[in-house]
Subunit: 324 residues, 2 copies
């Protein structure tokens, strides 16, 4: 299976790592909008190419994994390339999923290709967990907790504050809230009751730390609805203790099968590297995209539309023997 | 969707409860091998019928949920009725799954029906969890822990000992083993290191308790490979504290996306009632069986072959809006 990667940021590198772990996969090329000569990739012997090549629609790849941002890249890129190749992305702007799905579906249907959108861990594996749980126990409620882990969006927001050189923001579930949900109490939880936020900030010399702390804690949308802790640290400590991108979280579903008979279903992830795990999910679904298309399937799909057997390296017989 | 239930033991009653929680489902009839006049079911206005009626192949049901035992009932019943109806079972004799799958497939293919086998929580939801995790992180290892929960097979085994009136056997994961696996240590664990067993036994008056305890602890296959604790209690305590059938467990998968970059995926169930939860899974997959067959699909299937969207009451649009 020949895989192309479009975009070589954290996620593109995560996909590259995942491809190496899958023996049926071969990285065909990495595509970039930059000058390919300026980019060195980790996998030896694999070409770095320009999106100009990709735009011909003639690249010899079974599936293109699009590693762009949800704000502006993916809404444009995924439909564009779904008109030429089987594609997959990790689009996560929730409110715009219907529109994105429709655009990718239109392009993929016309081209006879498969386009899988919104694939990763949330949306992705967490969505699957919510779907199975709510199907099995329709009378129930899903709770999603994120962390402990680094939120890149929140870290970036703090970096934009005057006097801030660097920041790493951790999202942390509130232990008491987790306990209540795990106990099947079906609590009503405010935003503040579900998660806290912790910021490690490197400030510029002479910056007004009190002002920075206040600007963080009162920032609308990002922090004002949360209890936030701010720690000022130096660059050496940032590099030593906060250079990774760990993440994770839990989907906890609590429901009843009859009056008073409760069940709790929990799906949890503890991830050393958010982009490498997201990349691993994308690669498993890239396999599904190619397999589905080989069977004549076309159009936009999400994780809900794809049976587990399409993702796995094993045959149906092997899966029944070893995993069932 | 009209559902028939074959067999009205613990599992059949669990399915009956689950049907009531699904607004698109209607219990059409309960079928029994006994004299239907001797059986009273919980749902009012629903017929109890003989398997003689079922055997005509002319019952007006969209899917038959077969609630029999794996040892002798299901190997015979599921292929038999797959030749007449869409069927689903919870067959769990692991070594015989390939044979059972082949038999059901042959009958269902010939009849143009769908037969879903080995559906419940293990095999079933746990199998799905192993399949997704191993697809996403092929370089990894799955661990399955059961409990704390009542093992009916082990309880029955103790009841067969001379001098035992009743027994409830709990399977309990060893906390240290769980911790090691959750930490991503990928330990090699013996049977004894993974689970302990705890028996609550009501003995007949004057029975030799030391002999009973010894017979339990040394019983091959069931107990000899485990550390087992035996408590002798009276019937009142059995009824008060051990009348339920709680169960649950965890599939914990630990894998790497690149050298030294670890991820832990955990899927856990805490179930008030093993048969009601198993029944709930069967009902969700019964929906899938009928939907697949309506699309022209036929033959034997397992949970691996069925996309999450087929299980859920919601439409694709609703799922993308609310669950993705």
């Amino acid at each position: 299976m020949k895989v192309g990667i479009l975009g070589y940021g954290n996620l593109g590198r995560g996909v590259e790592a995942a491809v190496r772990k899958n023996e049926d996969m071969e990285l065909a090329a990495v595509y970039t909008r930059r000058d390919p000569a300026t980019l060195t990739i980790k996998t030896e012997g694999v070409a770095v190419k320009s999106t100009v090549d990709l735009d011909t629609g003639k690249e010899d790849i079974d599936v293109l994994i699009i590693c762009g941002g949800s704000a502006t890249d993916l809404p444009e890129m995924t439909p564009k390339y779904a008109a030429m190749y089987n594609v997959i992305d990790s689009f996560d702007t929730h409110a715009r999923i219907p529109e994105h799905f429709a655009n990718v579906d239109k392009a993929a249907q016309a081209a006879g290709k498969v386009g899988i959108i919104s694939c990763g861990w949330d949306p992705g594996m967490f969505s699957i967990s919510r779907a199975y749980a709510s199907a099995v126990l329709p009378d129930g409620q899903a709770y999603t907790f994120w962390g402990k882990g680094v939120s890149q969006g929140h870290s970036d927001a703090v970096r934009r504050i005057k006097g801030v050189k660097d920041c790493r923001q951790y999202t942390i579930p509130v232990p008491e809230a987790l306990d209540k949900v795990r106990n099947g109490e079906n609590p009503e939880l405010t935003t503040r009751e579900k998660h806290t936020r912790e910021c490690f900030v490197v400030a510029e010399e002479g910056a007004d730390l009190a002002r920075i702390e206040n600007e963080i804690k009162t920032m609308p949308n990002y922090f004002s609805d949360y209890d936030t802790t701010v720690h000022f640290i130096d660059e050496a400590e940032m590099k030593k203790n906060h250079s990774g991108l760990p993440h994770g979280g839990s989907v906890i579903y609590s429901g009843e099968s009859s009056d008073g008979v409760k069940h709790v279903i929990e799906y949890s992830l503890t991830l050393d590297s958010n982009p490498e795990f997201t990349g691993s999910v994308l690669v498993a679904y890239a396999r599904a995209a190619a397999r589905l298309n080989a069977e004549g399937v076309k159009g936009a799909k999400t994780v809900f539309d794809i049976a587990p057997s399409y993702l796995n390296l094993m045959s149906g017989e092997e899966m029944r023997a070893h995993l069932l």
